[in-house]
Symmetry: C2
Subunit: 383 residues, 2 copies
Amino acid sequence: MTFPVVGMVGGGQLARMTHEAGIPLGLKFKLLSDTPQDSAAQVVSEVVIGDYRDLDTLRAFARGCDVITFDHEHVPTEHLRALEADGIPVRPGPDALVHAQDKGVMRARLLEIGAPCPRHRIVSDPADAAAFAEEVGGFPVILKTVRGGYDGKGVWVVRSEADAADPFRAGVPVLAEEKVDFVRELAANIVRSPHGQAVAYPVVESIQVDGVCDTVIAPAPDLSEELAGEAQQLALRIAAELDVVGHLAVELFETRSADGTPGILVNELAMRPHNSGHWTQDGAITSQFANHVRAVLDLPLGDPRPRAPWTVMCNVLGGDYPDMYQGYLHCMAHDPQLKIHMYGKDVKPGRKVGHVNTYGDDLADVRERARHAADYLRGTITE
Amino acid sequence: MTFPVVGMVGGGQLARMTHEAGIPLGLKFKLLSDTPQDSAAQVVSEVVIGDYRDLDTLRAFARGCDVITFDHEHVPTEHLRALEADGIPVRPGPDALVHAQDKGVMRARLLEIGAPCPRHRIVSDPADAAAFAEEVGGFPVILKTVRGGYDGKGVWVVRSEADAADPFRAGVPVLAEEKVDFVRELAANIVRSPHGQAVAYPVVESIQVDGVCDTVIAPAPDLSEELAGEAQQLALRIAAELDVVGHLAVELFETRSADGTPGILVNELAMRPHNSGHWTQDGAITSQFANHVRAVLDLPLGDPRPRAPWTVMCNVLGGDYPDMYQGYLHCMAHDPQLKIHMYGKDVKPGRKVGHVNTYGDDLADVRERARHAADYLRGTITE
């Protein structure tokens, strides 16, 4: 059979779950991983251990792959262009991916296509940051390094000029953004294929704790059909304008104007399967992982609709107990409907080591079950 | 983390799909496979290539595994006893598994526990088979070699004494059974753990073509609650009496007595994930594969209830076209809700190379969608 070979760069949990989704599709999966202990390397047959920052390693890995896709956004743009020049399809391509790699490029392009964004500009030093704060109504403002951040890293809430020194220390350009007074955070997740087919998942609510995703509720409760549609349309438009291929997560702020009118602003873009889409594994007809793989291979996309009225995902973070097996056993006994997803990672405090999904008709119950399991696994509660 | 290592003997599609189900559970999976090209060997990280009939190979493989389980029933019973003597949990254990390995042992034991069976006895030669036929009302009768058969192999429908020579040629004891005038075939699938917890899946209808499973409908249409309950109770009782651990498929004939009373007779037992349970991957809260793994590790079992009113599975058999990729593409475009499961196997006429699952509210529609996809993939239809 001429079933294609998918080359996945990065051995984290997103690669692990993409491999899981690719098994029933009959695909061959090749992994470029930092170490043999990485989450995905534990479960994939064909693993190359190597550094994705090294072009020769990437080139050797890409040989024999029908497409290259990613577990993270950190592969240097120029390396991706070199792979493309070698004739290897890279999806998403470097021209799209740069918008998820560089927050400065992303904001400039979103402005160009009229996507609603917080006020922002690149600032050169703490004094310039203070000037920006003045322009948007005063401190606090958000400073972000344009490259290299994730899960709250590389992001500072700055309350004064004196407070603004840290972000400039990395020697990376710094983007200043107004601190949006948002009602809540949403995510509009879509998948787009090279021939332009696209599917939109229901818009979800994403609850962050200390800058890290904690809970995702699908669909976002009490979101008007109008605003949900607007968010989905925006995500589809961004994907088309930026020529994104694969899964695109558009992280959004939901806002209220002075007169109470709801609105949305784009917070971040991610061009890969995303934490805000993990609920789809058990809650949607086709998961984000299956659709990402289908998209990068230009296969027809699967139905993104939900299978239950409510699905809730809670991340399992490492706590004080290095061994989660007893908690895992308890959770299975406590809730036979619970869907546990462990990543095979060693427990370290605050590290994402898994997530749980629950679904059903009653949101309060579904949410409580996911919360209980995540807290029990972490060791925050013991009953 | 002290997550356990599951040792799977056999590299077929059942092992492949069990690995897939084990990934979210965070388990470590080790595979003993005949060749690196086997279905499961393509997708598992830790693969040992070796012969399961060789005790030294099995012993070396079992070292470091927390439990040994199976993709097939062909490991010699004495080897399993040797592994147990080495202190390796073997699940299902040899004393249970022998009933799925030897149809003579199975029938004798089922009779002992009062499970309804077709009339049967071991026959010594064609004349003895003719004598058995006389006892049960004449030819045709069924002859089966007690070991080594599957998918219609090792089973003969015999119409005369002259016709009865073949089954005796293998030098394996031959079991004669009356040819049951059944209404249809059912399967009662249950999962049981060492501490005795058990869950029962809905009873399904299984439609065979040329002795090979073709379609499974979950739940079996128009099956009375009473007979469904009877079938589930029977499967649970067999599992408890035989001390089965893991997934048990009880293949059944549904019969009608002269006065129209429905009944069931046990046809076959399988102690592993089974083709009649593939629908659970997309149609049940917990799949047979996930529950099999949970059972062999003595973890609490997952909810076996269906997620949709109807789920239909159709097997994809190899046809005249060696390359299914075009058909696969067509099926995805035709039905975005279709769940395709390919095994990574080369296409050979009549070989099981995958299956499809469909689910929904309208049985006729669900069935038609699965049928269309399976026929299209095989190449029987081209529109």
